[in-house]
């Protein structure tokens, strides 16, 4: 039994963290809400109670998966680039600009627009990458700062050059139909982006664990001095993993534009890049674990929206509840004392010695 506990410690810890998070949420909701039973039901079961809400979970998960994968590639090399948000925003803006100014058959237009958006995102994240590789500038700081630059650049581009003045609100021109990703389940907005996200999760998994370049990235992350010592070009890894990050994030952002809004509608940065960091941490930077982590986060987000719409719990409190759950999952030291005691008992019996 104890050996089993040690082996699946991480999984058990996540489950316990979620359980505690929910207990605290229940407590908070009881404290705040006039009708706690109903509020609680909205939050926890709400996402499953209608077809459109359930679909909403899938729609929300797909850009989060892309951003989680993006972050994971960089984090596996221990490059703490948090610029997914900026690359996503600017990449999607430039992809939109490209899509509305061109016209060609769908089977070329769709991949080309996605590629252009991805390349734009990659180019953007090349900036912190080269600053780090060449001059040792912290990628954490520079990518964070560049997120704001990307946001305002994208906003400028959309508001001053591609704004649809007839739309009545601040959005870009509508994409030509040849650049739309189809919504393939009737009465929902679930589009091919989710399929692409799952395919990319597999691709990134294969890339990291079954290719020489993936090995270089992971080795650099395990121990940079070890990698350098063995002849791996750390410079190349530092640049490459961040460029891939920008590509994936922007690609994911573009699928959302092409699949759901069909225009560039983000007056505020959508935050998927930040969610990507959360799911990368929950999924321990493993591309396949990022999929369930993203669905879980999407579920929390949709539950929060339902709660906000249906109950008297204020939006601020919803964010607090979500944060508590995420915090518990990501706390590395949580339950480590317990693990230590189990290890100790095993060792005393001569099990682990």
């Amino acid at each position: 039994m104890e050996r089993f506990l040690l082996k699946y410690f991480t999984l058990i810890r996540v489950i316990i963290a979620i359980a505690i998070g929910i207990v605290i949420s229940v407590f908070l909701i009881y404290l705040i809400s006039e009708e706690p039973g109903f509020s609680l039901r909205s939050f926890l079961l709400g996402p499953f109670l209608s077809r459109s809400r359930l679909a909403h979970v899938f729609e929300t998960a797909s850009p989060i998966i892309f951003c989680g994968l993006a972050i994971a590639v960089a984090f596996q090399a221990k490059q703490f680039n948090i610029g997914a948000e900026g690359s996503l925003y600017l990449g999607a803006a430039l992809g939109t600009a490209f899509a509305v100014s061109t016209n060609m058959p769908a089977f070329i237009h769709i991949p080309l627009v996605l590629l252009m958006a991805g390349l734009a995102g990659a180019t953007w994240s090349f900036i912190p990458a080269i600053l780090k590789a060449r001059w040792k500038a912290s990628e954490l700081v520079s990518s964070l700062m560049l997120n704001y630059v990307a946001y305002f650049l994208g906003l400028y581009l959309m508001n001053f050059h591609f704004r649809d003045k007839e739309a009545g609100y601040l959005v870009s021109y509508e994409l030509p139909e040849s650049a739309w990703l189809a919504q393939f389940i009737p009465d929902t907005r679930i589009h091919y982006g989710i399929i692409l996200a799952l395919v990319f999760a597999l691709l990134v998994y294969y890339f990291l664990y079954h290719t020489t370049t993936g090995y270089e990235i992971r080795s650099t992350g395990f121990n940079e001095r070890f990698a350098r010592f063995g002849g791996i070009s750390v410079f190349k890894v530092v640049v490459l993993c961040q460029v891939i990050l920008g590509f994936l994030a922007a690609f994911g952002g573009m699928t959302e534009v092409m699949g759901i809004h069909r225009r560039f509608v983000w007056q505020f940065s959508p935050g998927y890049g930040w969610d990507g960091i959360i799911v990368a941490i929950i999924g321990r930077n493993h591309p396949l674990l990022i999929i369930p982590a993203s669905f879980f986060l999407a579920y929390l987000r949709v539950g929060g929206r339902v709660l906000n719409l249906m109950s008297d719990v204020p939006a601020e409190m919803i964010t607090v509840i979500q944060s508590i759950i995420i915090l518990l999952i990501t706390a590395e030291a949580f339950l480590s004392q317990w693990k230590y005691r189990v290890t100790l008992r095993q060792a005393e019996r001569g099990g682990a010695a």
Binding site: R218, N223, A227, R228, G231, Q346
Partner: protein
Amino acid sequence: METILEAKDILKVYENGVVANRGVSVAIEKNTIHAIVGENGAGKTTLMKVIFGIEQAQEGEIFFKGEKANIRSPHDAIRMGIGMVHQHLMLAPDLTVAENMILGNEPRRARVFLDTERAVEITEHVAQQYGLQVPPDRKIKDLPIGVRQRVEILKALFRNAELLILDEPTSVLTPQETEVLFKTLKDLKEQGKTIIFISHKLKEVKQIADRVTIMRDSRVIDTREAGELTEHDIAHLMVGRDISFERLPAPVQLGKPVLRVRDLSYVNDEGILVLNKISFDIRAGEILGLAGVVGNGQTELIRILTGLLEPSEGEIALQGETLVGLSPRKIREKGLCHIPEDRIEEGVAEETTLEENFILDRYYKRGFSKGLRLSWKSISEHSEDLIKRFNILAQSSKTPVSSLSGGNIQKVVVARELSADPEVIIAAHPTRGIDVGSEEMVHRLLREARDRGKGIFLASADLDEILKLCTRVIVMYNGEIVAHFQDMSAVTGKDLGPYMLGVQREEAVSGKVSA
């Protein structure tokens, strides 16, 4: 005899499940020098950390001067009169000797300002009281390691330590400095202090200890009067079997130079000349030793040879082809391998599996990958083969390196480097901190490589290792080669010492080619 300290049935398990002490009991008699010997990983240092309050034992009791002692922190230990001198000295390098002495209970003027004069007075007073010479005004970083150690000892004495624990104090000293230390310890014993002396060097133990406790596999094997035991007895108890002390006979015939180093200089980022016109050859079929006190440029020299650092000037050629300016990978491909000084920081990636550690220098080569795709099957086979050939104690090639012992981790490094089939092997401290069994194995592998005609460069802080293995030896001091011993048959550690300390140098060694 009166017992000053007694530990009973100590059990200490670390968080990762390693049992470091299991039912350990030891009694230290007052006014003796008590040696605790054992291989690395036998549990000596852990026991001392428990006694000094750095680690907490899960079970067991400690009695100090007959009373049960509850030592929760080093602070408690110091208050009771226990002092410890760590293997890696715990002094502030930018402060003076006097400032280090009084750190923690500083004399003050007007309650706020440090009274430097008083600090110097205190230092001089304590130094005089115990007959230990230290320069109170000098900064720690400007002093040789032997003097720093003396400061650390004085610091413990100043805090009224009656029992002094020294953790492998001689591992950083030259033979001459060791003698000075031993005299100091004997004087302290005369003055009524009790000393626990941790070591794995048998000669020293015989020389200084009154009583000896031998530890093996986290347990105490025996405690005896030192006079009753010979070096061989102690070695036998430590390892559980006989080991050889013999020197390796010199090779019958030396081959051609395989690695040529000429006028190598290196100026570091701070503008300090770390290497000054180093020239030597490594010949096929020999082990060339590099002796010297740590920090005299050896680390930089090795990093330059292996391409991890750019020299400021000079030439390195492997079988006639220059290595200067090449990347570490290119240098490896030319036939040079490197057993690094710091195996945890550089030699392995601890978090990951053995196989991912084994392929570091070859993952992109034929047989391990096709195009971009890694061939995991052949990688695993290769790794299983290395585990078997190099006798690595690991469950499988998918075991994480972090779960191995120090000796086995080193075997992983050695297995990878030697299986690359190099012409030149650069080995930096290849047996530091590993168990005797693994040490013997590493020595045997180096010897076999030598006999197959490889050129080997061995840098080591362990003079016994240098004397045991090397065909020729060069000594480095302050970035220069100050001595070159061609014939090692009659050379002892004492012959090397004066050169290592810089008090003696061969005329015109530097500049001249040591070949």
